[in-house]
Symmetry: C2
Subunit: 659 residues, 2 copies
């Protein structure tokens, strides 16, 4: 493993190594593994290494390869975190964590809880009361149990139950939710309580009644009642000379960009050590956390607040992609590995895809006197993963272009999380959701993402500031015609937060004060084009807000520290309060010309449309990072002209002539 | 011409007809034509006609075909507007307009003013003072003369002068601005005044001095000092079975959408009579106006405020496109016609293009239990025009998709409008612009667009309202866990304005109260996903703001009236004040369940980056219209599965094996 790069994802051999080391340290004790993964390497060890790489100098010693193992002791239920040195094959530390800390869900556990639920006599008794017609069965989605009791230390799952009306692998059970919902202790494997769900427009619940069959609203093509469209013609992307990218291991080079594709079970895709034309730009980019709180105020729905990164993990929920589905053109796939509950490596083929796309025009100018035009198309490189978190899908893409822009694009799709809703009085609606089918309602919710940016603009000491556009004072000398406007800069000198502002056209920038642009006379910089979003709607006094402090402010700046990767803290499952950015800013660190991290919270207040059911047309949000005085001119000037000889488009001939 | 559809653009025959009718009415008087175009047909005549078309019923009488002619009498300089009935070949009205009303610029006039300027002895005297090196010449961009004097009635142009250092058809003269700027009266063809431009960081001007040669920052590929990139491989879109669209005349059908492609010299591309699956959606969509005020407070820059629709026109500045430049794949082009100053038709080939594009995934869901996935790609139909307004380029696209979404995408590119800037003290900067090269500065400015939406959601009586997402009160009964949130609706009952609000996640919707969705029990609706933007920065007391009232509020709702098409009024060139939306709302019309128009002002506060020079990587803004309860489920459910047999992607093979 000596040849592994510090940013390489974990290998199956490392998983086996970790299992061996830990099992040796806990001789004879049965263990259940929750996570075996790389531990982010220590930055101060990595920087000299990647700087030597970048500058083509002799490499210093390789940073220590660290592994992280989370596991339960099955003899006493204790939850441990161990840190291993893979180079020396030794344990650095192994400590038991407090009782109220819960690990994230792992895929084996999810299946176990599902089965535990379905096989439980109390659940079967409820199912019997439904008096289902022949062929209909029941399934369940085990849900993370959002905190509502500060003293709770059990490992709980709330199982939402659904009727499966059709034996089809894509039956949409979310269309037919049941009105009972058992809660299980996953460690003790026992039923904690049977919850009953509100059946109508208020919070009232009833005993389970026989099911009155309703139509299932299906999305699968072979379950649709209407025929498919037949008039969509093929659209084929051909790259006869191959792609413009080059991949060596996990290192991608494309159009002056170079970066390392990282993968871990929690964040999934990570971009490491991003450079442009040999200049350092970002040390690390990732989607650090997200939370999805629901707005339906009724029990038990107040506990629906998923942290899809911390509670589950985008790496372990990443789809295994295949040719022709997610991308067009020439596709490179990257694989990943995770550990199962026994500590064995599990191969995750094709969890990240890489391809080029054409995004229309990048720049054009026609000199109207001569009619001579320069036209350059916008070729992009897309690095993408698609995560299925039970009902929902997220498509995350880092998109790079030739003008040195970086985009984080998020697409939300999949199926709405639904609840039962009897509207026996036709016309009944609720103020926190929308009826999407017979007997089914989709509550309002928010999707709040945390984009973590660890900048390295021409070096590792950077500064964040914001710039507002403001009218000049109405002054006869300096602004006599009252049209002047200017900008105001505010430097974030101490770790803290900031607000976005549409009214002031607030733009956040990251700069390096030690590197002055020779033409603008200002420090080289990148700007963050934020996605100004409504912040968390839950009351600051709610557990929902306390657990997701990152989602209460759009901008956070912290001083870099190893181990501060996740906006809501390391352990979010059943957390009582966040242990993330809101703690780290309290250090009041100086963050001007320091090694800093910029965190942007953005999201969707998603009050569903009925058009989002039974499967949701993607909702797209985008955040951009753009050079702003980083170069001395448009960096895409040297992209060749768009030409028919290259693009080979075809001309539409009027069909009237043929008629 | 009896076979023309009410929404068809003007034909060359109609231009000749109009010239003949007008010249006959003004026998013997020399005329100069400013504009000959269709007049928007009278809506109450059109609606029965298109409704009969839509429903396949016998057609009522065709609406009167109206033509509009703007012209100057050359004997007395009077400016006239005539309205003609093309069916009866007669003048409906012809009236002289007040002296302070100026027509828009026409291409012939632009060239005339350019030549007038270059040939003028006073200009030549200034050029001589530059003592240019051999081979260097001077050119000028005649600029619309923004109002600063309420008594001005002359037809003025401010000519900005540039040094042309290289005899190349794409020399970037914007890199080398001169410091003198003559003002001409275009009707009297005379010099009004020689303005001198500030040369440094303050408003001070100086006599013209010999030019100290500096490098021109070039964008043309064969003028670049560095070689072009050689590692970009072809990316070819093939549609072997042809496009999925069908075009008959100007009517386009694609994936349940049907609309009429309109074109006129002022707005360029217009979408008329948009239906989805036979249901009426929008009567008319267009970019109604835009204004570009500059933030440099110094004379004469305070007069830089272009109205690119009203002062010039997107139809007459639309690029004539060619295969392989603007779009990939299978392209249909539409032509247009305008009149020249003598009243002759001018053919404008390929001013609008139509093509399909792939926009990644539209929806996906994987049932994690069975691993069965539904994956549907997002095919789009793009109708696009590209306008060159002197230095700048705008790319406007209406984009339709299979989930019944409509997007207006604007891309700003082209070249920054620059001013001379001596920074003899290296390090000098100004607070209202940025240095982009030696001796050249790019001032801050705004681009404010008005998107005019004339809705017809299942009929012509519609209502606009907005919906905010707000926390529920902290109430032990209804919101005991403090996580509940709901929506508040505010109906715009009277013509007026509204603000956007990110903090309240404000969404604007258009609904038809007479059509209730059978599942949601709410009126069928579309929502407008606004582009919340900083509004006009100029003081309300400035001419800049008075002339562009539409740019002071993001949302306007008016009751439909024929002739109310342009947000800042019909005549914007040298206007003293707007005669547009701000006047029309004052009627205090009832707009609930009425024939209404929704106007959305959005834009860019564009404080240039040096990366925007010498040609600007496109800046993209997008506004979406999405069905919201218009259907009873996702309208793209019936789009076939994305499959490799259809998409024919290729797999990247590691190159390491070949090395």
């Amino acid at each position: 493993m000596a040849s592994l790069h510090p940013f390489d994802p974990i290998t199956p051999g490392e998983i086996q190594l970790a299992t061996g080391i830990v099992q040796a340290a806990f001789q004879g004790i049965p263990l259940r593994y929750k996570k075996i993964d790389i531990q982010e390497p220590i930055k101060k060890e990595v920087v000299p290494f990647i700087e030597a790489e970048r500058l083509g100098k002799p490499l210093p010693p390789r940073p220590t390869r660290l592994l992280q193992v989370l596991f339960h002791r099955l003899d006493n239920g204790a939850f441990y975190k161990a840190l291993l040195n893979a180079d020396t094959r030794s344990v650095i530390s192994a400590k038991e964590l407090p009782k109220d800390i819960q690990a994230s869900v792992d895929p084996d556990e999810l299946i176990e809880v599902e089965q535990l639920c379905l096989n439980h006599p109390a659940v079967q008794a409820e199912i019997a009361k439904l008096q289902l017609p022949p062929g209909a069965t029941v399934c369940n989605d085990p849900w993370i149990y959002g905190t509502d009791d500060p003293k709770e230390t059990r490992r709980l799952f709330q199982c939402y139950m659904y009727i499966v009306a059709t034996d089809h692998p894509q039956n949409n059970h979310y269309s037919t939710p049941c009105k009972f919902s058992p809660v299980f202790d996953a460690l003790k494997q026992e039923l904690v309580r049977m919850d009953y769900l509100p059946g109508g427009a208020d919070a009232q619940t009833t005993e389970t009644q026989p099911w009155k069959p309703v139509e299932t609203i299906q999305y699968a093509h072979d379950l649709l009642q209407e025929p498919l469209r037949t008039d969509l013609k093929p659209y084929i992307v051909q790259q006869p000379h191959g792609p413009s990218f080059n991949v060596q291991g996990n290192v991608v080079s494309w159009q002056k960009w170079r970066f390392h594709v990282g993968f871990n079970s929690r964040e999934g895709l990570v971009i490491h050590n991003l450079t442009y034309d040999g200049r350092s730009v970002f040390y690390r980019l990732s989607v650090s956390e997200m939370t999805v709180p629901y707005g339906d105020p009724r029990a038990p729905y107040h506990r629906k607040q998923a942290f899809d990164v911390g509670d589950v993990g985008f790496g372990i929920t990443a789809n295994q992609l295949s040719l022709g589905c997610g991308c067009l053109g020439h596709i490179k796939y990257f694989d990943g590995y995770r550990a199962d509950s026994k500590g064995n490596p599990v191969h995750l083929p094709n969890v990240i895809c890489l391809h080029e796309q054409d995004n229309g025009l990048q720049h054009k100018h026609t000199n109207y006197r001569t009619n001579a035009a320069t036209v350059v198309r916008n070729r992009q490189l897309v690095v993408q993963m698609i995560c299925t978190v039970a009902n929902y899908e997220y498509i995350f893409a880092f998109i790079f272009d030739q003008a040195a822009n970086i985009e984080l694009e998020v697409r939300a799709t999949g199926i709405l999380s639904t609840v039962p809703f009897d509207n026996q009085d036709p016309g009944t609606t609720v103020p926190w959701g929308i009826n999407v089918g017979p007997g089914v309602m989709a509550p309002y919710h928010q999707h709040m993402f945390s984009f973590r940016m660890d900048p390295a603009l021409d070096g590792f000491q950077n500064t964040v500031y914001y710039e507002d556009s403001v009218p000049m004072p109405e002054d006869d000398t300096n602004n006599p015609y009252l049209v002047g406007y200017t900008t105001e800069q505010t430097v974030l000198k101490t770790s803290g937060t900031a607000e976005t502002s549409v009214d002031r056209h607030r733009v956040f920038k990251i700069r390096n004060d030690a590197h002055i642009n020779p033409i603008t006379y200002k420090p080289i910089a990148y700007k963050l084009q934020t996605a100004p979003s409504q912040m968390l709607l839950a009351s600051p006094r709610s557990f929902g807000a306390k657990r997701a402090a990152f989602a209460t402010k759009p901008i956070w700046v912290t001083k870099y520290q190893d181990d501060e990767l996740f906006a809501a803290g390391e352990f979010t499952n059943q957390s009582k309060a966040s242990q993330g950015v809101e703690k780290w800013i309290q250090r009041q660190d100086a963050v001007e010309n320091e090694d800093i991290v910029l965190w942007h919270t953005f999201g969707l207040t998603h009050n569903p449309r009925i058009e989002d059911f039974p499967v949701m047309p993607m909702e797209r949000i985008s955040v951009m990072l753009k050079p702003d005085g980083f170069f001395t001119s448009n960096p895409a000037l040297d992209v060749p002209q768009s030409a028919q000889s290259f693009n080979r488009s075809t001309l539409h001939q009027p069909t009237c002539c043929k008629l």
